[in-house]
């Protein structure tokens, strides 16, 4: 297995990809929840 520590610096693209990787599913889940929560006010 290659050592992924060969790289030395973190690029902006890597940072953005890492955050999008977790941010997109979380945002999707929050939107789904908010849509359900709206039923409380209907």
């Amino acid at each position: 297995m290659a050592d992924s520590n060969q790289q030395t610096g973190t690029t902006g693209l890597q940072l953005a990809l890492a955050w999008l990787f977790v941010g997109i599913p979380l945002t999707w889940g929050v939107i789904q929840t908010l849509m359900n929560a709206m039923k409380l006010f209907q």
Binding site: G9, A18, G29, Q32, T33, A37, L40
Partner: protein, 469 residues
């Protein structure tokens, strides 16, 4: 792990230029997966119809039997976090995350086999035991790493990760329902297939976190940050060995504070749907109650980030004072809101309570760091999670049994929760006192230089490295 050196702590030390902002997404990769446990109830009803398909057959599993799956998993979470905390701390985050991924995904695969051959014991072992170990290891694995990367804002850093645990159900619930709808036919309920797909997805997701995570190089500190050389009143600059922490009153005071906070939150969280409908009969429907639960979960998640971040500014002890005082006032206010029929007041009270429920989980790692130092904070956090396991028993018992007792003695359903609310408020008084008793840890518990050297040598031996590497 000699056979997979990539996982060793020594192979995960960050090179110069590595951004510490890569670590929170790595932690979220783990917590967004293991937090699925909060959404496991979506499988309960389908799993009662695996044989009968359209309706439960006599040989189908019952809801009480299925309820044990989650209970075992949460019990094993606390147990494994306490048991393996030191191993996680000394071996580094990668091997813990990798092991957690194997256990969590493996738990789903074993459970799929159990569902396929309709043997509930295999599901108990799979999701409950194996998956529960994945939960415990995964929950504590990124905590101390985040604290080391963010010495200037430890509350915010751990709050982000633990927020993921609270938010995971938002993803898991709709995803699980959608997957089951894809695999279910007129003659078959697609639970086993859903477990396999979820196991595969979670394994990949958690492995991404395992690859991304790094530990800071020895002596690293954020740019512009000057670590305090003198311990402040409630923030130590020394370390306490994991099992020595158990000998301090501070550990047990924080244990009580966490247990109180979780007991109050978890009790009403599990009963929120029925409680809201019973306190406002005819005004809050089942559909509206489901919306309330969704909103409550959202506030639970947001509270994890908000309160943990706030604790970096107002201090950990003051944050828990806020929880105890506000919790007392809000629980006292709930019966009043019910008596005047104020749904808005009721909802607002509980939404604030849920932020503090989540905030209690998210702030406690930083509180432990302040008290016991960074070296064994992950392992000490693992031991403290037993408070969660205990609260998981106390909370629902208090709410459900007192409600039932009141109803059996002729109290109207709309008022059946009042005594419980006042008992919860009373618990916060106990929590307040416990929090007030938290003082700086006595110096005799601090690790001595010779202990440090011995521990470092032991750690290096485990990693196959000379001490100090």
């Amino acid at each position: 792990m000699a056979y997979l050196p990539f996982l060793d702590r020594s192979h995960s030390i960050a090179k110069p230029g590595f951004s510490r902002w890569m670590v929170p997404p790595a932690a979220l990769c783990i917590h967004l997966c293991i937090g699925e446990a909060y959404a496991f109830s979506v499988f309960n009803l389908p799993m009662t119809k695996l044989i009968g398909v359209s309706q439960s057959a006599p040989t189908d599993w019952s809801i009480p039997e299925l309820g044990w799956i989650f209970s075992i998993a949460i019990f094993v979470l606390g147990f494994s976090a306490a048991l393996f905390g030191r191993w996680v701390e000394e071996g580094g985050p990668r091997q813990a995350m990798f092991t957690s991924a194997l256990c969590w995904a493996g738990g789903f695969i074993i459970s799929a086999i159990g569902v396929y051959i309709h043997n509930l014991w295999i599901v108990y072992i799979g999701y409950g035991l194996v998956g529960g170990c994945g939960l415990g290891l995964g929950y504590i694995s990124p905590v101390s790493t985040l604290i080391k990367w963010f010495p200037d804002r430890p509350g915010m850093a751990t709050g982000m990760a633990i927020m993921g645990f609270g938010g995971a159900a938002f993803i898991a619930a709709p995803l699980s329902v959608w997957l089951m709808s894809r695999f279910t036919t007129a003659t078959h309920i697609g639970v086993a297939e859903t477990f396999i797909v979820l196991g595969a997805i979670y394994f990949v997701f958690m492995m991404v976190g395992t690859f991304i995570v790094r530990v800071p190089a020895p002596g690293w500190k954020p740019e512009g940050y000057t670590p305090p050389t003198q311990a402040s009143k409630l923030i130590t600059t020394s370390d306490v060995y994991v099992y020595d922490a158990l000998k301090t009153p501070q550990f047990w005071c924080i244990w009580i504070v966490l247990c109180v906070n979780v007991t109050a939150g978890i009790g009403v969280l599990g009963q929120a749907s029925a409680m809201s409908q019973e306190m406002f009969p005819g005004r809050i429907t089942a559909v509206a109650a489901a919306g309330f639960i969704g909103l409550a979960s959202l506030f639970n998640m947001l509270g994890r980030f908000f309160w943990a971040s706030a604790s970096d500014y107002i201090g950990r002890k003051n944050t828990y004072f806020c929880f105890m005082v506000l919790g007392f006032l809000l629980y006292c206010a709930v019966p009043y809101m019910g008596s005047i029929g104020s749904i808005v007041g009721f909802v607002v009270c509980f939404l604030v309570i849920y932020t503090m429920y989540g905030g209690g989980f998210a702030t406690v790692p930083a509180y432990l760091r302040d008290m016991f130092g960074t070296r064994y904070v992950g392992a000490i956090h693992g031991l403290l999670i037993t408070a969660w396991s205990m609260a998981g028993i106390f909370g629902p018992v208090l709410v459900n049994y007192i409600r039932q007792y009141n109803i059996d003695h002729g109290v109207p359903k709309a008022q059946a929760y009042n005594i419980t609310m006042y008992i919860m408020a009373g618990l916060f008084v106990i929590g307040f006192i416990a929090n007030a008793l938290v003082k700086a840890v006595d110096k005799r518990h601090h690790m001595k230089p010779e202990t440090d050297s011995a521990t470092a040598a032991m750690r290096a031996g485990a990693a196959g490295q000379p001490a100090g590497a």
